[in-house]
Assembly symmetry: none
Homo-oligomer: 240 residues x 2
């Protein structure tokens, strides 16, 4: 019995038992020592399996490891398809793969009668005539930093061509038709700033968390900065 098979069987065993199972019982079922069971459980947890072990009790598998079957209406599938299609054309490599993985997972989870929609999609979001600006950095790094509330050091070249080095606290990434923009608190200016990702020549994430909650920065930005953007947009385009 290869280890990879055993891990699957272990997962099945945990799924089967709603009530806590002891490592001993699992060891007996899988015909290995308890030590190996602990190692295997550790491997599952390393794979983000939500298995909780409590001393004196045993193991229970929580929800949220695999994707349960999902029921969507046709409208909902269309909404997802349009969005993923649009996103895919503006995505960094890992986000692009993510769009494809979502489709694949949906295909595996949707009821059969909805599955054909994924193949000959009734809706699309085409890019004809749009010059989507390409990035030179890996935007995936920025997304990761935002998710984890990490500082990022960037080399930026603004609209006038002036270069600068800054450390920013990124809290949101805005996807526009042609460009992506990082919203961040700028340590250099001590102000909110935004940075077009295509003008970032270099980005580095040393893994330092910034001392503020992402949601707080987002809310503060919406209160203080957003109105300015809206006003400026209104001035450019009065009937918008």
């Amino acid at each position: 019995m290869a280890r990879s098979d055993r891990l699957l069987r272990l997962l099945q065993a945990l799924r089967r038992h709603r009530h806590p199972v002891t490592a001993d019982a699992l060891a007996a079922e899988l015909e290995v020592s308890t030590r190996t069971v602990y190692r295997d459980i550790a491997a599952l947890i390393g794979n983000n399996a939500p298995v909780r072990g409590e001393a004196g009790v045993g193991y229970v598998l929580g929800a949220g490891y695999d994707l349960p079957p999902m029921m969507f209406t046709a409208d909902e599938v269309e909404a997802i398809l349009i969005g993923l299609n649009w996103t895919r054309n503006r995505a960094d490599p890992s986000l692009r793969r993510a769009t494809e993985d979502v489709l694949a997972k949906l295909g595996a989870v949707l009821p059969k009668e909805l599955r054909p929609m994924l193949l000959d999609s009734p809706v699309i979001a085409p890019v004809v005539g749009v010059d989507i600006v390409q990035d030179s950095i890996d935007v995936g790094l920025l997304r990761g930093a935002i998710r984890r509330s990490l500082k990022v050091s960037i080399s930026y070249r603004d609209g006038q061509g002036a270069a600068s080095e800054r450390t920013i606290w990124p809290f949101r990434l805005a996807y526009f038709e042609m460009v992506r923009v990082v919203l961040a608190w700028c340590e250099l200016r001590q102000e909110f700033r935004h940075f077009r990702t295509d003008r970032i020549a270099h980005a580095e994430c040393p893994g330092v968390r910034y001392p503020e909650q992402r949601a707080v920065l987002q809310r503060r930005w919406e209160e203080r900065e957003m109105p300015k953007y809206l006003a400026r947009a209104k001035a450019r385009n009065p009937d918008g």
Copy 2:
């Protein structure tokens, strides 16, 4: 990279590609030799995965593997969020509700650690400065007709202001930054035509199915009409 992890990644890679994938491509993606890919494929098959390999072609994953896909990754949730956000701002009422329902269903399924992303989303698709053209008809009716391959009668007013009544066979709805466009076969002209939804003054769907498969119309359109659009876009915008 442990083997058990790799097997899951291999499975997901097979799910992602609906066209045949070669062992070489899989080896590149998983960063192992092709020999190992063959071994891993054999392992999957040993686990009853319906993966078919044909010489000269590649591998395809058949339907009906009982191992459910893994939960969405953070990247995948971001891809969905960006897309839904963009779609919501351009959606007819029922599609708009659909975007919200998808979010709710997603929230019900996501594990705790990913759920905050739905609230303080790290990504957005804003509409500042974009004048999204509103429709006077219910685009939901068009979407429904496309899904069911039904004829639609429309009153159209073209770019020059000339009005006309037509019956069309709609097969696809294209979402652009500002407008939506129905792609259809036009009974009046006996040609492929496209219609901006905001220029459709009235639309009616008597419930008559058109005598052609949607996928066939789509494919034919892609072969015959799509190149024209691309060429026209290229002429307008040479560096696109």
